[in-house]
């Protein structure tokens, strides 16, 4: 395994006027199509979101998913298991005040308010492909900052080999009455994955405060892994020496591995992962019936950046 500090330092990117121009045009079109100017709530986040937001040079160039689609079709079981439930129950998730507990193998643990968490970080706009294990995908402009920059602040010690995350555990949330998963929702990354510059902490999307159904006020986005790794509404971050338990792996270990890297060659018992339905473009009329299904890419197309993290691993075994 590579030293994670070293990996975190790597960042190569080239800016061309053309790419910046195309991205901005896409964004403007998307927000106009959505007809949404902003979400209410999340004062701390709203303050942290600069306007305009600095674009990230390596953003995906694919056609963007419409904002109204990305914010109404969600897997967030705490707010209900149907994909339309989270947006309906969004108001049940109280995001103010919000604090995050940092503990485990680090020298600067503590409980931090959202303001404390966000203060030192510059927010940028990154367009990532989001690939769900259910064989659909979206292209979403996230607003956030590198996870590694946040984790470094808590001074993880030499025993910190993994980092574990927890979602809010509020029994008042409508989906949490069902025992569909062993609450709270848990996820984890190996330290080098967490420190990789692609791993993002998001507080906004499409230039707006992230809505509850998408994981307000603070969520993870790990674009080369299946969507469920990108844990929502984070309240706890723990540095661990051992691989932490993760919710879907606990629920069905033969279906969901710890790594969960997007891999078209490793078939899932429920869904072939060879192809995906890109949820962008028309969702009504005959055009919606013939939306294109595209070939899925190794590591969701981020293989050049992240393949080295798994250089010596058998990915059919460590799926």
């Amino acid at each position: 395994m590579k030293d994670w500090m070293q990996i975190a330092g790597i960042k190569s990117s080239e800016i061309t006027d053309e790419t910046v121009f195309r991205r901005r045009r896409q964004l403007i079109q998307a927000s106009m199509a959505a007809g949404i100017t902003g979400f209410i709530g999340g004062e701390a986040v709203a303050k942290a979101l600069p306007q305009p937001i600095k674009p990230w040079p390596d953003s995906a160039m694919d056609e963007l998913t419409k904002e109204e689609m990305a914010t109404s079709y969600n897997n967030f079981y705490e707010l209900g298991t149907d994909k339309g439930d989270p947006v309906k129950n969004a108001d049940k998730l109280v995001t103010e005040p919000w604090s995050v507990v940092i503990d485990g193998e680090c020298d600067a643990p503590g409980k931090f308010t959202l303001e404390d968490i966000l203060k030192p970080h510059d927010i940028e706009e990154r367009i990532y492909r989001l690939r769900c294990v259910e064989a659909w995908s979206m292209v979403i402009p996230w607003n956030g900052f590198p996870l590694g920059d946040l984790l470094k602040r808590f001074k993880p010690n030499s025993k910190a080999k993994y980092v574990a995350f927890e979602t809010i555990n509020d029994p008042n949330l409508p989906g949490m009455k069902s025992r569909v998963l062993d609450w709270p929702y848990r996820e984890g990354l190996r330290m080098d994955e967490a420190m990789h510059p692609l791993s993002l902490m998001a507080i906004g999307m499409y230039g707006n405060v992230i809505p509850s159904q998408n994981g307000a006020p603070l969520r993870l986005v790990v674009p080369w892994k299946y969507g469920y790794k990108s844990i929502k509404s984070i309240v706890r971050i723990t540095f661990t020496e051992k691989q932490p338990p993760t919710s879907w792996n606990m629920s069905a270990p033969h279906e969901y591995g710890f790594f969960s890297n997007v891999n078209p060659d490793v078939s899932h018992p429920r869904w072939s992962q060879a192809k995906e339905r890109r949820l962008a473009g028309d969702t009504s009329g005959l055009a919606a019936l013939f939306s294109k299904k595209i070939e899925s890419q190794f590591m969701n197309g981020y293989g050049d950046e992240v393949a080295e993290l798994y250089a010596d691993m058998d990915l059919t075994k460590f799926f």
Binding site: S72, T81, K83, S272, R277, L279, G285, A288
Partner: protein, 246 residues
């Protein structure tokens, strides 16, 4: 006795056309059947009877068409959400299962109400179940897999829920194409045995639903419970038959 019943049912258009034929099978003449239950056709008393006879089928036809009409409407106004193909697949599959259970509910309904009219609906309701199952399958083949033969074959072989769904559909298909009066006459006794497969087909469809659902199993379990209750009526009938023969 049996021959009388058989003749009555064969003549009455009410009993003849069904997907799920649950008429007592020919088991020899020892079995006794309460006469009042099976003398079909215009046995409805009062002034309401003629109106009901005329309106029953068209009304049920319209009611069972509504889910499909809503789907077409929802597609064109963009009500199906971000993933319309998934929405259509789920929706048609659920309606196929609901209507299939409704088909199986008609015989118990006749037993409870002691009226013949539920039986007159069986073929039509059964064919509606097949129609929604066909729409479900075509959505999967044409829109979801976009006729990718290798992917479809891999799905059928590798994924138990798709294997179960395929078995269920093949059975419904066999029942649907043999649901005509002509086929019924041609097949004779074998028709009854074949159409008893509706229980296996429904079981396969339910297994398909249980296995594909990840996480929250409540909905498939409700369907399974309804199926078990409806099967209990058959068990009761079977038990009666056994006690009658012994």
């Amino acid at each position: 006795m049996t021959t009388h019943i058989e003749r009555a049912s064969a003549h009455a258009d009410t009993l003849a056309h069904t997907l799920a034929n649950t008429l007592p099978a020919q088991q020899g003449s020892v079995r006794t059947v309460p006469v009042g239950h099976n003398v079909a056709a215009a046995a409805l008393p009062g002034k309401l009877a003629p109106a009901m006879n005329t309106l029953l089928k068209p009304t049920v036809f319209i009611l069972l068409s509504l889910p499909f009409l809503w789907l077409v409407y929802a597609l064109f106004v963009g009500e199906l959400g971000a993933n319309p193909i998934e929405a259509i697949t789920d929706y048609t599959g659920e309606w196929a299962l609901r209507i299939l259970l409704l088909t199986l509910a008609l015989t118990p309904l006749r037993m409870v109400l002691r009226k013949p009219w539920p039986i007159r609906l069986r073929r039509m309701v059964g064919l509606f179940a097949f129609f929604y199952a066909l729409t479900h399958l075509l959505t999967y083949l044409l829109l979801d897999q976009q006729l990718d033969g290798r992917a479809i074959l891999a799905d059928i072989i590798e994924r138990p829920y798709i294997t179960a769904g395929s078995v269920g559909f093949l059975i419904l298909f066999a029942l649907a194409i043999t649901s005509t009066k002509g086929m019924m006459k041609r097949m004779g006794k074998r028709w009854q045995s074949l159409h008893k497969l509706v229980y296996v087909g429904t079981g396969a469809a339910l297994l398909h639903f249980v296995w594909l659902t990840r996480g929250d199993q409540i909905e498939p379990l409700i369907y399974l419970a309804v199926f078990c209750v409806l099967m209990l009526f058959r068990m009761k009938k079977l038990a009666k038959r056994i006690t009658a023969t012994s």
